[in-house]
């Protein structure tokens, strides 16, 4: 496809080598630097492209809570499961969400046990399904961050069939950065912000990082060159002691974000404290459907209270600490042993955006070859 061809230059080996050199140079005098990204796609691309092979050993890129499937609270999945068992009700959700274990079972287990669960690729699919089956009740189980929530806002605003409800578990990233600073004892020296989320929010949603923590944040894209550029910019800000919020993804992000999308979100949603699975209740971080649209809010209109209390921590599961970047997958005793993608114990191994799944598939991205084997064929 056309766009694919245009992206080639962001995968260019020469640019990558050049940036790798520049990163070495700028970080030479810095000592150990810990940067965190907050996007599952970032970790996926970093591992897949072996980006860490281009960084000096003093530069650590720590994966943060950027996997929307992983941070989705057990409480919400329990609600979705409860709805899936209601007569004539089908829960619609995105791919890997069906496999995430909740208090007693996953949505997939619920389907096996007689619940009605279907995978969809977009909110639009949900609308179409509801239109085609006007006599059934559908619930769209919505998860994801700022990026995904725009589509849901758009869908709600344009009007959806009466038999479609929304169970909203979307989360807003910026407030979590404060928590991350605390958990890491202020040892994080910079954040790489998810480029696609920044296209929506713009840069100012992160101004508090500059004001409160004097910490640089860089909106970063997803191709190898984008990611290395983001890292380079962040290191440069650290070196120059300029704790600013910077855009290293200008082909997609503008400072003020997508004002139309932001307006749409504001029209339909408000923000309240919300649970991040296993992590904490974070103020201002959960999108909620506004009163005006409560007629389609599954939480208000349908009976989605499970007949059991939530059980958020499967015993011994360290997924929440991996999401916080406190532990790496390799620090978890279960990783690759009793927890694998075909037999996941925690959410980070279920989702392709989860750090564990990514590391299982690609490793942390550090491999070497001797010179003789290394020459190109």
């Amino acid at each position: 496809m056309g766009e694919h061809a245009n992206l080639e230059k962001y995968k260019n080996a020469e640019y990558v080598a050049h940036l790798s050199k520049a990163i070495k140079a700028v970080s030479a005098s810095l000592g150990t630097v810990k940067l965190m990204h907050v996007c599952g796609t970032h970790e996926h691309e970093i591992a897949r492209h072996g980006i860490r092979q281009f960084l000096p050993p003093t530069i650590q890129i720590i994966p943060g809570p950027g996997c929307p499937v992983c941070i989705c609270p057990v409480e919400s999945i329990d609600q979705a499961i409860t709805l899936a068992y209601q007569p004539n009700t089908t829960v619609l959700t995105f791919g890997d969400m069906v496999r995430v274990p909740a208090s007693h079972e996953s949505l997939e287990d619920a389907r096996r046990n007689g619940g009605s669960v279907k995978m969809v690729y977009s909110a639009l699919d949900a609308v179409n399904l509801a239109r085609e089956n006007p006599n059934s009740t559908f619930v769209f189980f919505s998860i994801g961050f700022e990026t995904t929530v725009v589509g849901i806002a758009g869908m709600i605003k344009t009007g959806i069939p009466k038999n479609l409800y929304v169970l909203l578990a979307n989360r807003y990233m910026p407030p979590v950065l404060k928590l991350l600073m605390d958990v890491h004892d202020e040892s994080i020296q910079g954040f790489l912000l998810a480029g696609h989320a920044a296209t929506i929010t713009g840069l100012h949603a992160y101004d508090f990082m500059e004001d409160e923590f004097q910490l640089p944040c860089v909106a970063t894209g997803f191709e190898p060159v984008d990611i290395l550029l983001g890292i380079f910019e962040c290191l440069k800000l650290i070196k120059n002691k300029e704790p600013r919020i910077v855009n290293a993804y200008p082909r997609a992000v503008n400072e003020h974000g997508n004002t139309v999308a932001l307006q749409l979100i504001e029209d339909v949603f408000e923000r309240k404290p919300g649970i991040w699975r296993g992590i904490d209740i974070v103020d201002d971080s959960a999108f909620r459907i506004k009163e005006e649209y409560s007629f389609l809010d599954a939480e208000k209109q349908l009976d989605c209270t499970p007949p059991y209390p939530p059980r958020s921590h499967p015993p011994g599961c360290d997924c929440h600490r991996i999401m916080l970047g406190e532990l790496l997958p390799t620090n978890c005793k279960m990783f690759t042993k009793t927890c694998t993608p075909s037999n996941p114990y925690g959410p980070c191994m279920v989702s392709p955006e989860g750090t564990c799944h990514t590391w299982f598939k690609h490793g942390s991205g550090k491999i070497s070859l001797t010179h003789t084997a290394a020459h190109t064929i």
């Binding site: 080996a13 072996g50 279907k118 190898p224 299982f360 690609h362 490793g363 491999i367 064929i377």
Partner: protein, 348 residues
């Protein structure tokens, strides 16, 4: 395999059960063979770990192979289950270096399946067999109650003759060997997936199902020293190469830049979050030959209609025995694992 009903994981119920992932050609399939089948059926021929068995009758060597076909949808862009069933067994035989001669076919039909569709499938089988110059010489048909099958399941079994000087086996992969492929990867898997899920891409991606016997014979003409032949079907290139690396106990280094992939397949994979190296192929084969024969084999392959896009994509190395490494387009390295379970599209 199916996208909308994803793999149950083995320990979700108390005792282990067969899961869909056991049939995906990846790590679970390998586990199933090793824990259930091999312990009972262990013998020197099976131990070769080949696509088919090599049998010796006096001076004559025969290759013998069987394969079952369960595919949803039955009809897709570029073919149907009938082509697949004929070509699949022809290709398994070809991967042993054999010239396929005779086939047997068994059908399990579901009550209520339209005869019209069955005819179409059989027609395709006929043309495929004719194109590959093999004869279908025996067969069987069973019908199961409605709901107990998925339209049609087909099993094909075949035999072929093998030249005496030919010894092809994944065991023979040796450091310095170059790895070739006869064309674009991922076409079949993406064609099936887009058909089944109703995904539309700008270009229609067609399955690449085709009989490889002729191409293989051409290769064997110019290089009797071919070390390994393998068709990277279920589980894709990653699975097949991992199997070869594990058997040979050498490493395999792939070069991402050299991999022939259609832009449309690449785009579909990016949208769905899938790795083209994990996607199933039909009508593709991996060829391992000593380095000095690489060029002449590549030229020969490119002359064949099924090998126009042929490319050298990697080599066998001593380091990282049993592993497959990929050198990415940006010159980094990554380990290429066997896919685990099924390939699920990711959300974003």
């Amino acid at each position: 395999m199916s996208l909308s009903s994803s793999t149950p994981h083995p320990n979700s119920s108390g005792s282990a059960k067969v899961v869909l992932g056991h049939g995906s050609g990846g790590k679970l399939s390998q586990d199933l063979l090793e824990t259930v089948f091999f312990p009972y059926f262990k013998n020197s021929i099976l131990d070769e770990n080949h696509d088919g068995a090599i049998l010796r009758f006096g001076n004559q060597k025969l290759a013998f192979s069987t394969d079952s076909f369960v595919v949803n949808p039955l009809f897709f862009h570029g073919g149907n289950i009938g082509d697949l069933a004929i070509n699949g067994t022809i290709n398994d035989l070809s991967m042993c270096g054999a010239l396929p001669q005779y086939l047997a076919a068994s059908f399990i039909l579901e009550e209520g399946f339209p005869l019209h569709d069955l005819k179409k499938i059989v027609q395709s089988m006929h043309s495929a067999a004719q194109a590959a110059n093999v004869l279908l010489v025996t067969g069987d048909t069973k019908v199961v109650e409605k709901g107990k099958g998925d339209g049609v399941f087909i099993n094909t079994t075949g035999i072929g003759t093998v030249g005496n000087s030919i010894t092809i086996s994944p065991k023979n992969a040796a450091p310095g060997d170059v790895v070739l492929i006869n064309g674009n990867i991922g076409d079949h898997g993406i064609a099936i997936m887009s058909e089944r899920e109703g995904l539309e891409f700008e270009t229609t991606i067609e399955s690449d199902t085709a009989p490889l016997n002729d191409l293989i014979q051409n290769i064997l003409e110019v290089s009797p020293n071919v070390h390994v032949l393998r068709d990277p079907t279920r589980g894709g290139l990653a699975s097949t190469l991992n199997e070869i690396a594990a058997v040979a106990q050498y490493g395999i280094l792939l070069e991402e830049k050299q991999l022939p992939i259609q832009p449309a397949v690449m785009a579909a994979c990016e949208i769905l979050g899938l790795d083209p190296l994990h996607i199933a192929n039909e009508g593709k084969c991996l060829v391992f030959v000593p380095e000095n024969e690489g060029d002449v084999v590549l030229q020969k392959m490119r002359q064949h209609p099924l090998g126009k896009e042929s490319a050298v994509i990697g080599k066998v190395i001593r380091e990282h025995p049993g592993k497959v490494l990929l050198r990415t387009a940006i010159e980094s390295l990554r380990m290429l694992d066997m896919p685990e379970g099924e390939q699920l599209p990711r959300i974003c």
